[in-house]
């Protein structure tokens, strides 16, 4: 048995590949045409390819580089590090960055909240440097930083920043203002135009120095500087002439004020803005009002007129504001509730 195994081992030794392979001299292998290796595949472009989020990290790193360069520039300009007393005076920052979805679309990368917030913190840092450069008067540097940040700002940035601010009242080519006033259930659209002085008034002003005779021979509309008309003798002829106030109109739904609002309280409410501002007879008013009753409609017209006066004569705005005429009265009819007869009125309480 040992002999058989020994013989088998010897035969196996003989059958090994290197022992039986033909001998090939190396010189004959020199000119051998081997199979050409396949052309090497191109390597990935981005250095952050192996993070799996190349687009995002490329953008983030570019932003970090920009921040670093800006920081160096500001340090050379002696603006950084900024002491506390200087930091307190800086105007507030109001950035309006793109939201997560838009930013992901811009970068062509999938954004999670944490990555989005990290990106925003970088943008905010750069925005702070931009503010510093701007306020110190380095316009070019601030513009270059803004150029970088513009890409990431929302398109409707101005609209968002203007929210909450009162839109300025516009005047058309004839000098009319258009304002809206509301009270209770009524809405009033009010057009206000400054009253033009009539051409008859001017000759009166120039001839006020001339003799009374010349003035009295003039047409009925002109009045002398001295004396009330109709009094040629006596003390009243020496009284100063009343100031000629041009007649202005207030039309509500194309109906004169006195006709539309028979109650004095409503008329007074409408005229009150003119009284407070001291501008009675200075403006003509045309209002279209809908909804509600007489109090609501007159209050709506009053608010519209007050807003228009504040636009025409900005100096009157503090007066109107003090008189609370520029505030839209928020009181509305309260709804009726279940279990009550009216909004507040309760049914008679029964003991049992």
């Amino acid at each position: 048995m040992n002999v058989a195994r020994h013989v088998a081992w010897r035969s196996a030794l003989r059958s090994r590949a290197y022992a039986t392979a033909a001998y090939v001299p190396p010189a004959s292998l020199e000119g051998l045409q081997r199979a050409r290796a396949p052309p090497p595949k191109p390597k990935p472009e981005s250095p952050t390819f192996y993070t799996g989020r190349a687009n995002y990290y490329d953008q983030l790193l570019a932003l970090e580089t920009a921040t670093k360069h800006t920081r160096t520039a500001l340090q050379e300009l002696q603006l950084l590090p900024l002491p506390k007393f200087a930091r307190e005076n800086l105007p507030p920052l109001r950035p309006v960055w793109k939201n997560k979805v838009d930013l992901a679309e811009l970068m062509d990368a999938n954004l999670t909240t944490s990555r989005y917030r990290r990106f925003l913190s970088q943008l905010n840092q750069l925005n702070e440097y931009r503010r510093l450069a701007e306020i110190a008067g380095h316009v070019q540097l601030a513009e270059r930083i803004q150029h970088v940040l513009d890409v990431f700002e929302r398109d409707n940035k101005e609209a968002i920043l203007a929210r909450g601010k009162r839109k300025p009242v516009k005047f058309d080519e004839f000098g009319r203002s258009y304002t809206i006033g509301r009270r209770k259930e009524s809405t009033a659209r009010v057009w206000v135009i400054a009253a033009q002085p009539s051409p008859e008034d001017e000759p009166v002003a120039s001839s006020s120095v001339s003799s009374e005779a010349a003035a009295s021979s003039a047409p009925v509309s002109s009045t002398p500087a001295m004396g009330i008309s109709g009094f040629t003798q006596g003390p009243l002829s020496l009284a100063p002439a009343p100031v000629k106030v041009p007649t202005t109109n207030i039309l509500v739904n194309n109906i004169p004020l006195a006709e539309y609002f028979p109650h004095v309280s409503d008329r007074e409410r409408i005229v009150r803005p003119f009284r407070v501002a001291g501008l009675i007879g200075a403006f003509n008013v045309f209002a279209l009002v809908r909804g509600g009753g007489s109090t609501g409609q007159s209050g709506a017209v009053c608010l519209g007129i007050a807003k228009a006066l504040a636009a025409h004569v900005p100096d009157s705005e503090p007066l109107l504001r003090k008189a609370k005429l520029l505030k839209r009265d928020p009181r509305m009819v309260e709804r009726k509730k279940t279990g009550r007869a009216k909004a507040r009125k309760a049914y008679t309480w029964v003991k049992r």
Binding site: P44, Q78, I135, G137
Partner: protein, 300 residues
Amino acid sequence: MATSLARSLAASAARSVRRTRLSTSTAAQVRHSSFARVEEKPLETVDDWTNFQLKRAEYQTLIDTFSEYGSTQTRNNTFQPHHSLHRPVAPSDITLSALIASGAHFGHSQKRMNPNFVPYAYGVRAGITIIDLDHTLPLLRRAAQVVRGVAAGGGSVVFVGTRSDLRPAVRLAAERMGKQGYHVGERWLPGTLTNRVQMFGPEVAGDEQVIPDLVVFLNPIPNIHAVRECALEHVPTIGIVDSNVDPRVVMYPIPANDESTRTAELIAGLLSVAGREGVAIYQEEQAKAAARAAKRPPRY
């Protein structure tokens, strides 16, 4: 633009300082001048800000003029903490003292020592394993040779350092190697190499060479899955191994302190400098081959 503005600012400040210096003695000037302190009143107009900047520039100029007298040590010829990042050591210039200065010889506690690490340990002191830098230095130079060789052959090298302090080191290392350098400063996503078709898409995985030719780990233990992926895809790895790690996890271990930022920056810088040399060699070879191909007569 900003630098030229700064220079003009500093120049005007310097001129104003020099003018006053001629009239009074310098000591008196320093005593009476208000350069040292900027007034703490609020800055409203642009002129206020300009004056604020000029005052600071004056103070800086004063310091700079006086720096010429006294100590010869300046910011440029003394060690600054950012030098390990921005002034990498060449592989031929690395010394034991540089390694010790960066704290590469501190290992982990004796209790955590891996038995396979014993050949690279010098000993134990105060319960801490001290790594034998006489072994580290040649292994570091060997790793540098590997990086140079891979880069000279046109291979891609990925630097992996997934801690916040390692991020700038790997980024700069990859930048030094140009088109052949890549970096991973954040988390290594599992399946980057083994699941590349799903991760990068079939087009990219098929058209581009996704498998790198060498991966350098500055902190292999938190990225052990990445190390394993490289082994599965037959990618050679270099890694900084500490005393609690089996050195055989990576192909070319560098026994050193994995917790020290300066050590990691030193090693990453050294390897990237070697890689830069390799890239230069490769580009030279490419240029020569292109020249030869241009000179060769065209085949018919």
